[in-house]
Symmetry: C2
């Protein structure tokens, strides 16, 4: 998808003065700071905001948004900038609100298995904070993203097959609306039937309906036993069939990740590992000692039936951590295969019965293309990723990646899947929404108009109005 | 809550003629049929619609809604009429769309663990249909409600502690909008980050944003082992503490239900059982043989520490079914304690750390009141119910139940809980929403206005506009 260029006015001087008076040196218009805040980790063309406001509280965010609303100036929320579809690009300029300094864990309710954090707290920071409680927060999209950003993008990742995504794990949000009003989307009770599900509406809204400043998430007890293992397969089809059967058998695996041979080659080189260069599954099992043993036995039997080799185990925390770090570095590892390249990451998600076909047809496409790519994915959910390693100076490579991406999305949609399982829409996938949702996009647009009539909140993302 | 009387115009004759032409004898204006469609299972004053349309397809629903929209006539969707907060009361008259004849299971995707049904299919019907597949649909609110109604009210029930509520178990919906347009809220993939979560917006919207005509739900493999047990406790506090510790220990119980001594007495009489008349927990455990044994061992130890008596087991399907039927009949059993009474059922939900306090203070209130009542609940979620058995002819009883209900809701809200964990808002709890959500109610109202500008969809429910 190429960037939609939208008309862009210079920042109103009265607004700038008011923001500066309010924030002092926590308002920056430095070119470097603005540039850094207009780009994410993808190939998408960056679009710098005109100013960056480093907020310290919900009240400050509300004031900043109110001031911007008065001047009809765009507002883009920024966490860690690790999104992948151009989510933070300030397409129409305006003010970026950087929430990274709102990084306090406000409350851990160990008895209720929940925690409330400011939006800038990252997932690793939260887990570090929880270290002595016996609890953990499972959602792990790879990057050490902020909880606010993860809520805003409905983040998912390796553990989602067992623990769900941010959709299932956010209990409540504090949100600043387009006019500066502040709401809490829900109480802290585990369930409620008291009105529209505003929590789920804001989760995944990518800063287009409000700015999330506080997040209450579910926590889980650290399992008594955790084991991770790696298993290589003769073909990607056999690896995928192992996943499908595992899920269909109801084995509650915590993680079940696929890496194709290109991706394995990449992480071997990048992380100095020596996995056989073959389609490979990474597993993690959580439970009681007996429960994990039972799961392992079932999955080993399924894998053996599909030509899987011996399970290589990582049972102590250091080995496990090394294994998953390599998985998380897959993106950077893939890029390192082609020095100087930029990554074009994309993902789709299909019903699991269609996963083998979707991956096989996609691999066939890739085999006939000249662009280097690697495939990995959270296959237990039916979700997988491609990374194209492109030379951004060569338009024909961008065109070819775009063609392959279009075909993969069309394939996923034809299989009742979605154009993105977890990366989100941003502006990179905005043009696929009509094909996926049809008339329902108009409902999204009505909601956007109702909650942000002047289109100041992250304009040009999810739906154009 | 007393009914809000809203101005009510007679049904437009042109509309009536058009509907009759379209539906023939599937349009009824008989007083008996209309009366039956304006009341639910609660004490709330019934409000009959002016006509009832028995729809056979999404297209028909769309045509009916379009016709009503043209005449700005209210539309109330009706499944089985088992809601509890006046959800189906036609406060402003209009047309009730009865979806009970849209009762086809459209597709079961055993490989993907999901099923698509017309909105009128009931949960028991679906499970009957699934009988030979090894799969089941777990959400069980007690009544044999329709899946459309369960989605519309975000139903929950005994299994929610393990399997979640309709919020977690609806994958996708077909919805007829206020102007007759038809949308699908999502694809069939397990997760998606492709835009606003319309599925979750319509789940729990109680027919105020659209009429749900088709539901795709998650299914689960029937567990290898299922065991149910009953255990009595010396005090309700000890029973509740057993629940809290069980949940906090991460035991994946499938059901953990509390019944107070009044409720036990009621079901003993109604279902001819002989449980000790004491605060009692009903448990169900799902898993592998070894997994269930492990869960049982942990819970028995916790119960024993809190004075629980011996577990009485129901391991074969007939005994289990008898046990849960008695639990499900709790409402009717309570009413039978006072012949001629009407039930005023109400529920709240609090963070589990506050559950013991919330129940203790509520029981204290009840002890000082003259109205008979019984307490039961899905306590693993922090959710519990009261039933007041009132004489509807005696205004002082209604006033007293209202006072107790107000106090319970205020108590739950003060404990960061919600005014309803699962019954929903209807018009019975509409006046509590401001206290629970504050400014967020205004956001709900904006959404309602955006999607139903003429306020024709179940007007007077959830939010007044």
């Amino acid at each position: 998808m190429t960037a939609t260029v939208i008309e862009r006015a210079p920042l109103n001087t009265a607004l700038l003065a008011a923001l500066r008076q309010r924030l002092g040196d926590r308002l920056s218009t430095s070119a470097a700071v603005c540039a850094q805040h207009g780009k994410d980790e993808s190939y998408h063309a960056p679009h710098a905001p005109d100013a960056v406001a480093f907020a310290h509280s919900t009240e400050e965010v509300a004031e900043i948004v109110s001031l911007c609303a008065k001047h009809k100036t765009p507002v883009v929320a920024f966490g860690t900038g690790t999104s992948l579809e151009g989510h933070v690009a300030a397409l129409r300029g305006g003010v970026c609100i950087d929430l990274s300094q709102m990084n306090h864990v406000l409350r851990v309710n160990a008895e209720d298995l929940d925690a409330t954090v400011e939006a800038g707290v990252t997932r690793k920071q939260l887990n570090e904070y929880l270290r002595d409680t016996g609890l953990f927060f499972p959602i792990d999209p790879g990057a050490d993203a902020s909880l606010g950003g993860m809520a805003a993008t409905r983040a998912s990742g390796t553990n989602a097959v067992r623990y769900g995504t941010m959709r299932e794990n956010v209990l409540s949000l504090i949100v600043v609306l387009a006019d500066g009003r502040v709401i809490r989307t829900a109480r802290r009770a585990r369930k409620s039937a008291a009105g529209y599900d505003l929590t789920r509406l804001f989760v995944g809204s990518e800063g287009t309906l409000g700015v999330i400043t506080e997040v209450t998430v579910r926590l889980y007890g650290i399992p008594e036993a955790i084991s991770a293992a790696v298993c290589a397969f003769p073909t990607i089809a056999e690896a995928v069939d192992t996943v499908i059967l595992t899920i269909q058998s109801g084995v509650p695996v915590a993680r079940i990740e696929l890496l194709d041979e290109a991706q394995i080659d990449a992480i071997n080189k990048y992380s100095k590992l020596n996995h056989p260069v073959a389609p490979t599954l990474f597993f993690e099992f959580h439970g009681s000692e007996a429960g994990v043993a039972e799961q392992v036995e079932m999955v080993k039997a399924i894998a053996a039936d599909h030509g899987g080799d011996n399970f290589r185990w990582a049972t102590n925390p250091e080995d496990r951590s090394r294994l998953w770090q390599a998985r998380h570095d897959a993106y950077y590892a893939a890029l390192a295969l082609r020095p100087g390249s930029k990554g074009w990451p994309t993902d789709v998600c299909v019903p699991i019965s269609r996963l083998a076909d979707c991956i096989a047809e996609t691999k066939q496409d890739l085999a006939q293309s000249s662009i280097p790519s690697a495939l990995a994915g959270h296959v237990g959910d039916g979700n997988f990723h491609l990374i194209f390693m492109i030379d951004p100076q060569r338009p024909e490579e961008i065109a070819e990646a775009s063609r392959l991406n279009d075909r993969m999305v069309a394939r996923a949609l034809a299989m009742e899947g979605t154009c993105t399982g977890e990366h989100g829409v941003g502006y990179g996938k905005i043009d696929f929404l009509d094909a996926e949702h049809g008339e329902a996009v108009e409902v999204m647009r009505s909601i956007k108009r109702a909650l942000d009539p002047d289109d100041i909140l992250n304009p040009g993302k999810i739906v154009r109005v």
